[in-house]
């Protein structure tokens, strides 16, 4: 783009015209000490809790400790240039970040500044990072599904719009993989996604971005990144930043999905900030308000009713509910879910997806432990056909788990027990799914239907996934009308049941797997 000098001077002139020339009144304080990103400021008797404070060199901080003679401030960003005696100004504002549609497809830091090299973000709207969650009157119960595109989860642990479903497991159990698949599966559904990466390697974040771009999922996604090399303060506020960006969509009658990857690291960052602020340590050296840290964040994920949306948009959007679904991730150490932060977040959320490393290592991926995973509200939101067909799956797996220990004595077992074990083995096999290949409702329905009706019983366990793949291919080419019908309505009727039955019977006769 060519810029000519007159354009620039016009631009500057315009800016100067809008410039407020009245005398500026503010309160000031002076820096007393700087220690590891925590600055103690003398004065500032008018500072508010969480207020944004301005340091020299265009650096900002957040007031966290208000004491009699001083204010404890965390610096957001680098603090190397701040020295004793520097002037600190109050801005009179709680920390705000840019929000809006313009952020979709972008990668931003915890303060909403773009870090993907694609230029400035064209949005004028901002929102404070800390907001109080919607009240009881404004809420509506969860009754629409979010399809994650994973058979094992959508069938057994359904997630509804506005729900908070925890993904918990050790390192290397595929927690992030579930989250990424969930984002990819929202393509074309109108659900906007926000992926908040906290304390991760920059290379991992770059990988996520690349994978999302490859699958065309960046267009509906915002990535908020506070990598391991950024200050603890930024890692601590990143989830709130992402949440405010998600609330923008919720409050306009749209649906959004936010993933916090992961809240364990956020709790660590907050512990660091708190200890440096000399707040008293409690259990596992976390400060006393670590429960509130997560509860106030997750409480903001909610479904709000049409009246509230109408009120928030000033009557512009009518008759639409808004939702923000949260998938927080917690990393456990050695499978210990009774540690402090995991128990807290389990008790806050509406259920958890429990991933186990021995399942993962034995090749069951996603490594979902169907017995320990629950969804407390998702059942009401589940697609009818999946609900109907998935019920059997859960039962089959539960019975299989009880009998699995006897599987090695297969020859000595009675007929019905042996059958249950064989069904269980096949259903377990069927629940396996490759990464980056989310399934539509109809595809899941076909797989589950085949398992329920016993079509898999005559197939060798190691051939189940081949059978499924071939079946899906066949259904796509030969029965596209039926599949489209299921995807469109999600209902389960005799007509659909009969249609599926004849289709699968025809397919089985071809022996083409």
């Amino acid at each position: 783009m060519q810029l000519n000098p007159s354009e620039i001077s016009d631009l500057i002139k315009k800016k100067i015209e809008n410039f407020d020339l009245s005398a500026e009144a503010h309160t000031e304080g002076t820096v007393v000490s700087v220690t590891d990103g925590i600055v103690r400021v003398h004065g500032l008797s008018q500072a508010m809790q969480g207020e944004m404070l301005e340091f020299p060199g265009n650096t900002f901080g957040m007031a966290l400790n208000l004491e009699r003679d001083s204010v404890g401030v965390v610096v957001l960003g680098s603090y190397q240039h701040i020295t004793e005696g520097d002037i600190v100004k109050c801005t009179g504002k709680i920390l705000e970040v840019p929000v809006g549609e313009a952020l979709l497809g972008r990668v931003v830091d915890a303060l909403g500044n773009p870090i993907d090299g694609k230029g400035a973000i064209e949005t004028t709207e901002t929102a404070p990072i800390e907001k109080i969650a919607p009240g009881v009157i404004a809420r509506q119960s969860v009754d629409q599904p979010v399809q994650l595109g994973l058979k094992s989860i959508d069938a057994m642990i359904p997630v509804g719009r506005g729900q908070r479903e925890l993904i918990i497991g050790d390192r290397q159990t595929g927690k992030t993989a579930i989250a990424i698949d969930a984002i990819i599966n929202q393509k074309g559904t109108g659900i906007k996604c926000i992926y908040v990466a906290i304390g991760q390697k920059r290379s991992s974040i770059a990988n996520v971005v690349r994978k999302l771009e490859e699958h065309g999922a960046m267009a509906h996604t915002i990535i908020v990144a506070a990598s391991a090399s950024e200050s603890a303060a930024l890692q601590f506020i990143a989830p709130y930043t992402g949440c405010s960006m998600g609330e923008f969509f919720r409050d306009r009658g749209e649906d959004a999905l936010i993933i916090y990857d992961d809240l364990t690291k956020q709790a660590w960052a907050y512990r660091q900030v708190s200890l440096l602020l000399r707040r008293p340590p409690g259990r596992e050296a976390y400060p006393g308000d670590v429960f509130y840290l997560h509860s106030r964040l997750l409480e903001r994920a909610s479904r709000i009713n049409a009246a509230e949306v109408e009120r928030l948009t000033g009557g512009k959007v009518k008759g639409k509910t808004g939702s923000l679904t949260a998938l927080p991730i917690i990393e456990t150490q050695g499978g210990d879910v009774s540690a402090f932060v995991p128990t807290n977040v389990i008790s806050i959320t509406d259920g958890q997806i429990f991933l186990e490393s021995n399942l993962f290592n034995s090749g069951i991926r996603p490594a979902v432990n169907a017995g320990l995973s629950v969804s407390r509200v998702g059942g009401a939101a589940q697609t009818k056909i999946i609900k109907k067909l998935g019920g059997g799956t859960r039962l089959d797996l539960a019975q299989y788990r009880e009998l699995a220990a006897f599987a090695q004595f297969a020859s000595d077992l009675d007929e019905s027990t042996r059958k249950q074990i064989e069904r269980g083995q096949r259903v377990t096999e069927l629940m396996k799914q490759n990464q980056y290949s989310p399934m539509s409702v109809a595809q899941m329905a076909v797989s589950l239907f085949a398992a329920n009706e016993g079509f898999l019983d005559s197939i060798a366990v190691n051939k189940v996934l081949d059978f499924e793949a071939a079946l899906h291919l066949y259904m796509k080419s030969e029965q596209s009308e039926l599949m489209n019908n299921i995807n469109a309505t999600g209902d389960f009727s005799n007509e659909i049941s009969n249609g599926l039955k004849t289709a699968i019977e025809t397919f089985v006769k071809t022996h083409s797997w």
Partner: protein
């Protein structure tokens, strides 16, 4: 600095109470100012900070220097500070004492920086406006600071009203970024 204020507050509150009882706030304020000035002297600082100097000799030295500027109560206050190893707090105590005094008498210390010397009428007018604005009587200390280029900058406690050209230019620099 903030920790010093926390430590100094009980002393300042105590002597202010005593000063009110004996109606000697002005004399206290004078002697505190003198003591602070003494303690700011580098030679004295070395002695005060030296742990080898014992307390009796230190208090004798301090009383000797301050002779004629302190009364009996001031003397026992000094001895107490030496005994508690808090002699370093004197400047902070003096500051807090002044703040208590100002608060009690209902006025406020205001620093006014101006780019050019203000005329007497201008000062009076300015003081009247500020009193109305801050809702308190003020004691105005005017100083000239050429670096402001033009206008005035007012400091009242933590509050700053920046009406200087320098401030506006800085503000504009930010807006144009």
């Amino acid at each position: 600095m903030s920790e010093l204020a926390t430590l100094a507050r009980p002393y300042a509150a105590a002597i202010f109470k005593r000063a009110k009882e004996t109606q000697s706030a002005t004399s206290w304020s004078k002697s505190l100012a003198f003591m602070s000035a003494v303690l700011k002297n580098p030679d004295i600082s070395v002695v005060v900070d030296n742990p080898k100097v014992d307390k009796q000799r230190l208090s004798a030295l301090m009383l000797d220097i301050c002779q004629g500027h302190v009364n009996e109560e001031n003397e026992s206050f000094l001895k107490l500070l030496v005994h508690n190893n808090r002699l370093r707090l004197v400047p902070t105590i003096a500051k807090l004492f002044e703040a208590f005094k100002a608060d009690d008498e209902g006025y406020m210390e205001v620093d006014v920086m101006s780019a050019y010397p203000l005329s007497k009428e201008a000062k009076q007018e300015f003081a009247a406006t500020l009193e109305k604005n801050l809702g308190k009587k003020i004691h105005m200390n005017v100083a000239v600071d050429k670096s402001l280029i033009g206008g005035v900058l007012v400091r009242a406690g933590d509050k700053v009203i920046d009406g200087s050209i320098k401030g506006r230019l800085q503000h504009m620099q930010k807006a144009l970024k």
